[in-house]
């Protein structure tokens, strides 16, 4: 099984560990990841110029098509944006013509046949629970995880088609595979607040706070994420606002790829796993 690995813009500089851990895990599951020089998915520019956003997304998919492989993203926002573009490109011939005309100058062309999948759905759909289970060497016994879905993978459901938008189960099931125990938390489907970071920090943090508190109250030890932005929000950004006492610090955010890697018994360094909290939780 092969996929073009769509890392997105934030991983290389802001969250390299997501890249390393994903690669490590995929290696173990022998998914081979092809590296193409993708451009930005278009999500960041959508609020400013939707055409630009759709064109960016289309170009990526066309690039994958040229190298005939499908795309695997690890970021909910990239996933959402690519899906969104594909959705409208499929339904709006006028738009498709316009975009393809632009792509033609680079000898590229967008067509429906490029699939865009999120890391989680690749695991869930292509690999399947049973195959993953066989690789779990060191189950994360007793680790209580609040699975954080991330908005743009779930909604708008008719566009992204990731999972049941009102009662999704994929992430919890995948968490369970690692031997950890998914907890049920009321705010699991809500926003992490990152989209407003550096735009309206107060609001951004407020939303993060509510989620952290809710996860903690529901007895979770860590928040499991599968999105670059969410992870950055819950981890890096939370650390930058150390002065705000009202922010819950007991609970940490861990990337699902890292959890899975650990359960596979991979070295924490190969997973770019720096925070000890989770190690202690697992060992103790």
């Amino acid at each position: 099984m092969k996929y073009a690995f769509f890392a997105g813009c934030k991983i290389p500089y802001y969250l390299p560990s997501y890249g390393t851990s994903t690669r490590a895990v995929c290696k173990a599951l022998d998914i081979d990841l092809i590296d193409l020089e993708f451009n930005c998915c278009g999500y960041p520019v959508r609020h400013q110029n939707e055409t630009a956003a759709i064109f960016s997304a289309a170009r990526n998919m066309a690039l994958a098509r040229k190298n005939d492989c499908h795309i695997m993203t690890v970021c909910q926002c990239c996933y959402g944006q690519l899906k969104y573009a594909a959705y409208w490109l499929t339904r709006d011939p006028e738009l498709r013509k316009e975009i393809n005309a632009l792509l033609a100058t680079e000898k590229l062309c967008w067509t429906e046949d490029v699939q865009v999948a999120h890391f989680l759905s690749v695991l869930y759909r292509d690999i399947g629970g049973s195959n993953i289970r066989t690789l779990v060497k060191k189950p994360l016994e007793g680790l209580k995880v609040a699975a954080h879905y991330g908005c743009h993978a779930l909604r708008p459901s008719h566009v992204v088609r990731f999972d049941n938008p009102m009662a999704p189960t994929i992430f919890e099931e995948l968490v369970a595979l690692t031997g950890a125990q998914p907890v049920d938390w009321p705010k699991r489907l809500e926003c992490c607040g990152n989209p407003l970071w550096e735009k309206n920090n107060r609001l951004s943090l407020h939303l993060m706070k509510k989620k952290l508190a809710d996860a903690a109250d529901s007895g979770a030890q860590i928040i499991g994420t599968a999105c670059t932005y969410c992870q950055i929000q819950f981890d890096a950004i939370r650390r930058t606002v150390s002065e705000d006492a009202s922010i819950n610090r007991t609970i940490t955010a861990v990337l699902y790829s890292q959890m899975l890697g650990l359960s596979f018994g991979l070295e924490r360094n190969d997973l770019g796993l720096t925070n000890d909290a989770i190690m202690n939780m697992i060992n103790g």
Binding site: Y13, E50, A52, P156
Partner: protein, 578 residues
Amino acid sequence: MVFTVSFYLALSICFFGVFLRMAGWARTEFDPQDSVGSLVRRLSGIFTGSLRILSSRRIVWIAAALIRDVFLQIPLLRAGFFRWLAHMCIFYGFVLLVMMHALGSIITAFFFPDYASTLDPFMMLRNLFGAMVLFGILVAALGRMRRNRFFRATSRSDRLVMFLLALVIVSGFLLESVQIVSAPIFDQMVDDYMGTDDTEIRDPLKAYWAKEFYVVFSEQPSSQDLETGQTLHEENCAACHSRPGSAFLSFSLSRLVGPWALWLNRVRADIWLWYIHFGICFVALALLPFTKFFHLISVPLNLMARAGVGLSSHPGTPDDITRLALEMDACTHCGVCSLHCSVAPIFRIIPNTNILPSEKLMSVTQLAHGKQLDATHLEAVSEGSFICTECFRCTERCPSGISLQTLWRKGKQTLIDRDYPDPHGWVRQLTTDQWADRLDRCRDNKPLCDTFNRYRHAAQDPNTFSACIQCSICTNVCPVVAAADGMMPPEVTPQQVMNLLRLNLKELALGSRMVWDCVTCYLCQEHCPQGIRVTDILYDLRNIAVERLQPVRRPSSRVHPDGCKTDDPHGKNRNEVS
């Protein structure tokens, strides 16, 4: 005399210029907010800093960088073989020319006491090095012609530099070729070294040189006694003169000019060309600090500086700023960054060159040097800067090792401090009704065309929102509305935005907190019992707002009575109808 004077003049200009450039680094103050020290303080900063590093163990790293990055130019090799090839040919070709030829009397003569420029192997090597440089320039030129993305990276200064270089070399070759055929020089030499006017002796030599050295004489020598000529040659000339054939380029060139040789000799072209050749060399030397030639100095310096000391990701200290200045000076505008930039494709839709790092850097540099840019330009820079997603690719790829990522962050901060933030920033400066007033006052009352049915006009197609049954579920599930307590209220709720649209009061929604604080979590859209694309509509309103509010943001400047920007970088994206 002329020669010496002009040489020292050029040299001093060069040194002065270099000093100016370095002083420039020390004068750069990026962001008015930073406290940068005095010129002296910072100049000393440069030297003490470099001394400290050079005396530290870091020296090893720097040496390594010198070899890897400067001598072998590995970063360039990563950027592309032909770039590397061109640079290697030009750089080493030229350096060797300078050492063996220009400074021949000093350097070469030191190693080979019987050095003469007209003697092999030197004559052959000189041609070889010259050829290398020319070849390099050729490759570079072709490369620049070939390399096309959505824009041309090549600037005038690029052309100037290549042109000057080529001129130096070509003039050299021409000079040499003319010298080969030059009878006057022959006569002068004979006068100098044999000191006899006896044609009995002169003519055989003349004949021999005419035959073997291709000198072109006005009148055929009377005697054709080549044996005598040869012996004479071996006695007097051979010590300093190899056969011209080994100067392969100049020689073949001399065969070409042959037909006009007599005339050339008569006008003493050799002398003119001599002046021209050196003239150009000195000009080039003098221009070095003021043209792209300077990257000969700045790039290696930067590469070594980088090896010497890392740059903090949030530079603020005077020395940091100095470093940034050096970084910016190290840009050769080679365009590699723009080739790999992950938002560059957006330039296809938003034709704003400041989206492309290679171009944006120039604006940022102007910004850093405190140049007064007009509002339109600043807005363009701001747009470009905030479209950047900081994916780090440009920084990884830059052959000059510029830490662009840091520069971008710094640039954004500077723009914010100069009141040119991204739309999220400036829209918040007014409340939604104030924005509506602004639009009103600019008499821009043309309603947006409501006949679109395209996805991207969600907010302009009544069919997308008129199914609203006022159930307020969108508002109930909205995390932004819920979070409003204690912070600025969202002014209007999602439902109220839908109603403003239905009431044809779009302008009242454009600047609203709801539209700009929306976290795009799509809860409203997902829960709407009528399947209204609430979030998509909010997105679309942002698009419209960016387009329509930007022009009226500063009512004083650049606003026509009809509320359109005087120059509009992406006019093609507007969708007002008159």
